[in-house]
Amino acid sequence: MTAIPDTSTASVFIAPPTRSRVRRWLADTRTIIGLGFLAVVLLIVAFGPLLAPHSITEFLAPPFSPPSAEFLLGTDYMGQDVLSRTLNGGWTVVWMSATSATLGVAVGAVLGMLAGYSRGFLDEVIMRLSDVALALPTMVLTLLFVAMLGRSLPLIVLLIGLAHAPSVARVVRGVTVDVAGREFVESAQAIGAGRLRILLRQILPNVTGPIMVEYGLRTVWSVVAIASLSVIGQGVAPPQADWGLMVNENRVGITVQPWGVIAPLLLIAMFAVAMNLLAEGVDRALQVGREGGNQ
């Protein structure tokens, strides 16, 4: 790309998340569904291990036994209790996706604000990196490094987080360029405010909305990547209980005992869909009142 088109700012409405916008966000049915799904997932992560009726690593019944009074969701490929493993299996995907999204958004937002306010060299670097990030899908990049360095959860979190950063930077940069041209920034410059002060006091409050949307979307993509890695056997390692890993382990028995797949599958789906609904809702709440409106 020879020049940097500013069209990314065209449809991002810049506004701080005021109280009325938060209320509008909460009034949206889709937000409520998202919060409900998220609550179910987080409650399972928090209290599931306490409620689990059986050990997660013990051979209890023949593999792929159908649901029974004792094993409500049946048993898995090793004769372990599916319900207990499901109740224990959420923590890994939740902490990993939340951490990598936080990392990606933090790095990306800082780079994007600096690039959008100062322009110049950093601009070019971000555009290049986001081209590379698109050319190397997160899964491919992660598999490349996991192949070399071995399977490691912190490594996966770091890679997925860094893979997000350029795209986040590109979005935040676009909004920052727009904010930086406004009168209140010019007047801050006129009274001699320093760059850091302007970035923190003038720019940051006005880009928090888009950053929140990005945070939700990046969490969705982290969940997808992290769960997918476990599903193909390159993420969480057995005998740990993890939703993605459970899908991997119990897939062979899908015709006789589908619950070993369905239970973790639905929870992963609920988590990802919840975050997407919440992010979409924030985006809509920010866009209401914008010229042209949100169709």
Binding site: P5, A10, D131, L144, A147, L149, V231, Q234, I254, N276
Partner: protein, 354 residues
Amino acid sequence: MNATPQAAVAKTETTAAAGDARSMTGPTTLTAQRSSLWSRYGWILGRLASGVLTLFLVSIIIFAATMLLPGDIARIILGRDATQASIEALTIELGLDQPLIVQYLDWLRGAVTLDFGNSLVSRAVVTDAMLPRLLNTLGLVGMVSLVSIPLALAIGVSGAIRADRHWDRFVNGASIVIAALPEFVIGLLLTILLATGLMRVLPAVVIVPPGASPFSAPLTLVLPVATLVIVSLPYLIRQTRASLIDTLTSEYITMAELKGLPERIIVIRHALRNSLIPSIHASALTVAFMIGGTIIIEYLFNFPGMGLALIEAVATRDLPVIQFIVMIFAAGYVILNLIADILTVFVTPKLRTR
């Protein structure tokens, strides 16, 4: 069509559709300013150079990743029982005693000439061994694109024309849900629905004898193709819908309405032409994302393509195969974008008529 307002072409909608591409912007803002024949080709050359630069950066990342491999590559290749002498011989043969920059340039020269060496596992020449895999994946992606791109365009247009009615709301809601779902969730739900339990109408995995083409058993392809179609729909639907709605609210459409033209004519003759231009890029990105999505889908349905080969190679640490596949995936993205750029330049009326 000379009077086409630039805004309708240049606007790239960034709805909050979950997707890495939401920050992507079409090239039309650039093309709008340069319209002589020369600069049209010049601009495409610039995009080509940019694509080559992207691939160059990708090659550095791949090489750097390989350098991170703990331990001695020669020892890994030869296995645990190798003698010290044979390890030293291989180290020299592979040039591993050379400075890093020399090693990189050697490797890059190989990559450019499609010589990635031999598989560490099967000993076969990587490019030869991977060619059938590549063709299988291309076939799969091609079949999916033929279904999903027209389907997504049709749904997107139908949503935009009747924006905010029931159908449009349903499509929007479904898009938000599907866009968030990992490929394996959709693939496995379809499997559970159609290949297990009551409705065993389809085989759950692709089962073909080794060496046979998966396309010789069409029924086994239904699930992988259907999954990829569903996964790839939301992004393109949303881009198409947003772009058409943008166009329909622009001044020249209002003008056409004031002239009393029937809505059908306005949409087909005036709005669609402009609004579909950004969809060219969105389609290219859709196909590019699909390439990433094939990794999981091929694994789930045991489809012998590049994605499955990558997973197998990662499990066995087959470096040359990994390097080849990652490079091909990146090249696929660059080539698709270039095709989209060229198409965009040639169908943009402003550029065609001067």
